[in-house]
């Protein structure tokens, strides 16, 4: 089992009655509410937590990309990864991922990841994501072109990393007459690739065929199981024996000395994450064309009604969140590993507005008492 410490860098300063006053922390929550002094504090605190994860022996530390949102303060994940590259030494430096569907120029991503690969002496993992629905509003990128842009940008970046001479690129959404990125990556043929999946069969098949790592998004474990089974059968169809380490379970997780303490301390931050951070209407997560008809039908028929109406207990029951003593968390993860069949985990341990001391204590308990048994 491989463990990645994943950070969202949430803006912890949302008002208590946020969900009554605002429709979402994304796209429309005025940036007048952003307190720059708190911003400085949060960035340094969050980078400290990622550095601590490296010291505690996590296999990877991960950052991600979000725009115009208090949900996550990393419009540029590559900047955060650069800040970590020279202050960490062992953990994989994972950018999960660059939202190549909304980038104007995918070659910039190829260049920055290649730079990071050198800065980190070959520790970079490159995730590619399409970008969340509201980011298509925020970037004026047509969501009906999302999938095509993503695939073209991916193909272009891989070709830019693996071709040893200048070439020309022409595809429906991109045209570059001269592609010749300097530097090219340190890792050969290129850094490992992670792709998140949320049930789309097209994505499962595509990730399986490329033998990339397939990472879940927050969802009930019954859904996650369907996705991982889908990835495994897509791999088998492609004649590939799926490597369990490439099946990655993502989950917010909190560990305290006892179950009681864990629940008492996790409840508020978990509610923050799912009721404030992920408060968003259908129209901003699923702009037109962002979902294929098949994926949309799958989502409508899954009966999943969104996080807004799920209580802390619901979230625990569906294993969307895990919290408890080291023993409870260890047992739960063993069960889930056996049912879902994953070989890697992305754990989100700074949940919502959780105070730094609690995050650190949870990390230490997890690294000291849970990880060793699961390895």
């Amino acid at each position: 089992m491989k463990f990645t410490y994943f950070h969202l860098m949430p803006y912890a300063g949302l008002p208590d009655d946020f969900e009554k006053r605002f429709s979402s922390p994304s796209l429309t929550y005025p940036n007048g509410y952003f307190d720059p002094e708190l911003g400085v504090e949060l960035y340094h605190r969050y980078l400290d937590e990622l550095e601590l994860a490296d010291e505690l022996g996590f296999d990877g530390i991960a950052v991600n990309e979000h725009h115009q949102s208090a949900y996550g303060l990393m419009p540029s994940p590559n900047l955060m990864a650069a800040a970590l590259a020279r202050r960490t030494s062992n953990a994989r430096l994972m950018v999960l991922g660059n939202a190549i569907g909304i980038r104007g120029n995918p070659l910039r991503v190829a260049e920055e990841i290649a730079m990071l690969d050198h800065l980190s002496r070959g520790r970079v993992v490159s995730g590619f994501v399409r970008g969340i629905g509201w980011e298509y509003f925020a970037h004026s990128v047509n969501p009906t072109r999302s999938r095509a842009r993503f695939e073209e940008a991916h193909d272009l970046i891989i070709k830019a990393w693996t071709t040893r001479e200048p070439f020309q690129w022409v595809s429906p959404n991109y045209e570059f007459r001269y592609v010749n990125v300097w530097p090219r990556p340190l890792q050969q043929p290129h850094p490992p690739i992670y792709i998140p999946g949320a049930g789309s069969t097209e994505t499962m098949r595509w990730v399986a065929q490329h033998q990339y790592s397939y990472m879940s998004v927050y969802a009930p474990s019954s859904l996650t199981k369907r996705w991982f089974d889908g990835y495994r059968s897509a791999s088998e169809e492609a004649g590939i024996d799926p490597d369990p380490e490439k099946i990655v379970f993502s989950v917010p997780l909190y560990v305290a000395e006892t179950d009681e303490l864990a629940h008492a301390q996790a409840r508020g931050p978990v509610e923050w994450l799912f009721h404030k951070g992920l408060k968003q209407g259908f129209e901003i997560i699923f702009p037109p064309g962002y979902m294929t008809p098949g994926s949309m039908r799958g989502m409508l028929s899954s009966g999943f009604a969104g996080f807004e109406n799920m209580s802390y207990e619901d979230l625990l029951r569906e294993h969307i969140v895990i919290a408890g003593s080291p023993d409870t968390v260890g047992e739960t993860l063993e069960q889930l590993r056996d049912t879902l069949g994953f070989g890697s985990m992305n754990v989100l341990m700074c949940i919502g507005d959780m105070p730094h001391e609690r995050v650190v204590s949870s990390m230490e308990l997890f690294a000291g008492k849970v990880m060793p048994a699961l390895r």
Binding site: F137, S140, V141, N142, P143, T144, G281, F282, E283, I284, F286, P287, P288, G289, M291, P293, M296, R297, L300, S301
Partner: protein
């Protein structure tokens, strides 16, 4: 007064990379009706009323309603060529073209491109012009429950659905919305170059705007009327953006009077 009894019949037409669906009905001079973001796949009371005096041809735009998505039709410029092909295939020499909202934009683009192919032009609360100081409502950002209040002056008059929407209905709405986004996401609902080309339109033109329109500000209708030679602007009181759906009799009467005038003049010449 025309009655609303004329039935429309749907036919399929193979064109380019797929098939489109066309509803038509009535007898008389041809009238090509181009729907907006909503209204695909329907023979509405306004169609039936118009069909009392005209042969009404109401296609679903590619990707909308019962029409296939056509890979070669990606933007409004492609739609212009698409409809010139449709007109050729159906033998429509110089039809009247009535376009609502997005369909009004397409109608104006056809008339700019091929002025000689348009007998009369009616633009119902059209989008298509880029007037940043008078923004069009971001229809993609409106939460689904708020849509009735956005398109009707009096939302209580919107025909009530038979029951809660099922998955098929939601998917159909998402598909129409996807088709609309393909053509209009960016630049949003506009061709920045259209304004400077409107002088090419040669047909008699009527612009109709609904006084309770919460999607398209009045200035858009005014700008069309100002830049199309001889165009007339008429408004419909107590009516929202879905004007021919909210007030079919009034809207069809306005269109009918205008077309009767145009057709009488054509005979006199």
């Amino acid at each position: 007064m025309p009655d609303a009894t004329t039935q429309g019949t749907a036919e399929r037409l193979a064109l380019g990379g797929g098939e489109i669906s066309i509803r038509s009905g009535g007898d008389g001079p041809p009238l090509l009706f181009l729907h907006g973001g909503g209204g695909a796949g329907q023979w509405q009371p306004a169609h039936a009323l118009l069909a009392a005096s005209h042969r009404v041809i109401a296609p679903d735009h590619p990707g909308f309603g019962e029409s296939d998505e056509l890979p070669e039709v990606e933007g409004v410029d492609d739609l212009v060529y698409h409809y010139l092909d449709v007109m050729d295939r159906l033998g429509l020499e110089r039809p009247a073209i009535v376009g609502h909202s997005f369909g009004g934009w397409v109608a104006a683009e056809i008339a700019v491109h091929s002025p000689e192919r348009v007998g009369a032009l009616v633009l119902l609360s059209p989008v298509g012009l880029r007037l940043p100081e008078h923004p069009i409502t971001d229809v993609f950002f409106v939460p689904p429950p708020e849509i009735p209040a956005m398109i009707f002056h009096d939302p209580s008059k919107l025909p009530a659905p038979d029951g809660p929407p099922d998955a098929d209905m939601l998917l159909a709405i998402y598909r129409d919305s996807t088709a609309l986004a393909r053509y209009t996401w960016s630049p949003f609902m506009a061709n920045p170059k259209l304004e400077r080309r409107l002088h090419r339109i040669a047909s008699p033109t009527l612009v109709v705007w609904a006084e309770g329109d919460r999607v398209v500000p009045r200035e858009h209708a005014e700008r069309y009327a100002e830049l199309i030679a001889g165009a007339r602007l008429q408004t419909i009181p107590e009516c929202g953006h879905a004007l021919q759906l909210e007030r079919p009799e009034e809207v069809v009467a306005v269109i009918g009077d205008f077309l009767a005038e145009v057709e009488a003049e054509a005979v006199a010449r």
